[in-house]
């Protein structure tokens, strides 16, 4: 295993509203609590709270622009999250390899029995 599980990162991604926020930010490049809440069925306050969770997990970075705070996705941290998701594929590779080993072992034993029926 090359990556360690970061609980805060995963907890941040565990909420569908926050994943939607990330999707919107990735699509638009950046956004404010106000602009994002206009695209979602939640209040500006709720969006601001979710952005705070994403910021603590380092998935988004705030950039002050006058009186407004624009948020952008932290690409490095996002890539890290994607990399961890990719390990799910590795888990299936391991399982399929075991299925192969087991099925071939069983088949080998059955073939042997057929070749030596009365021993």
């Amino acid at each position: 295993m090359t990556t360690t599980i970061d609980d805060e990162l995963w907890a941040a991604l565990g909420d569908p509203t926050r994943r939607r926020l990330l999707d919107l930010l990735l699509a638009a490049g950046s956004g404010t609590a106000t602009s994002l809440s206009a695209q979602m069925p939640v209040t500006r306050q709720a969006v601001a709270k979710h952005l705070g969770v994403l910021e603590r997990a380092e998935l988004v970075v705030p950039r002050k622009d006058g009186r407004e705070v624009h948020f952008v996705v932290n690409e490095a941290q996002f890539a890290r999250a994607v990399e961890q998701l990719a390990t799910v594929g590795a888990a299936w590779d391991a399982r399929l390899h075991r299925i192969k080993t087991m099925a071939e072992s069983i088949q080998a034993l059955r073939s042997t029995e057929r070749e030596e029926p009365n021993q």
Binding site: V88, I99, A103
Partner: protein, 153 residues
């Protein structure tokens, strides 16, 4: 970007009947997945898979619901839906095994869909509890004896 589907293929030197057995029978699932599985391998069959948590804090219980059981061609199930809720595309992963006879063996194709929809909690669960090959190595020495018993009974 689409991380919602995992697709894998592997060739197995055993006929589809044997591969199907390994995929669907709880006693085999315990060996290749590490879960104690309890479910009827028929369409609509609901059950659970359980395993001890790695950190020793009790037992992980995961619901499983069989979607399709067409021996020895296809086996599909949904898993990780919330306890007590019917499995849907929104709340679970769909795992599909497709078995194609090739020569005397089997081409086994796996797809798992649903990450994008279900969210990442379940991916986290997978990341935390995914199997390590070291764990399997412990079981390998007993496999021959185990498979032998299976053939005899």
């Amino acid at each position: 970007m689409e991380y919602g589907t995992i697709e894998r293929e592997i060739h197995i030197e055993a006929p589809p009947e044997v591969v199907y057995e390994v995929i669907t029978r709880p006693e085999h699932i315990a060996q290749w997945w590490g879960f104690d599985a309890s479910f009827p391998a028929v369409a609509g069959g609901n059950g659970h898979m359980t395993k001890g948590r790695r950190d020793g804090t009790g037992t992980l219980v995961v619901p499983i619901s069989v979607v399709e059981a067409d021996a020895p061609r296809r086996f599909a199930f949904r898993w990780v839906q919330p306890e007590g809720e019917p499995a849907t595309p929104e709340n679970s992963f769909l795992v599909t095994f497709e078995l194609t006879p090739v020569g005397g063996g089997t081409q086994l194709r796996l797809t798992e869909t649903g990450f994008r929809e279900v969210g990442w909690e379940a991916a986290q669960l997978e990341a935390q509890y995914r199997d390590h090959s070291a764990g399997w190595d412990e079981h390998l020495p007993s496999l021959a004896a185990y498979a032998e018993g299976l053939v005899r009974t």
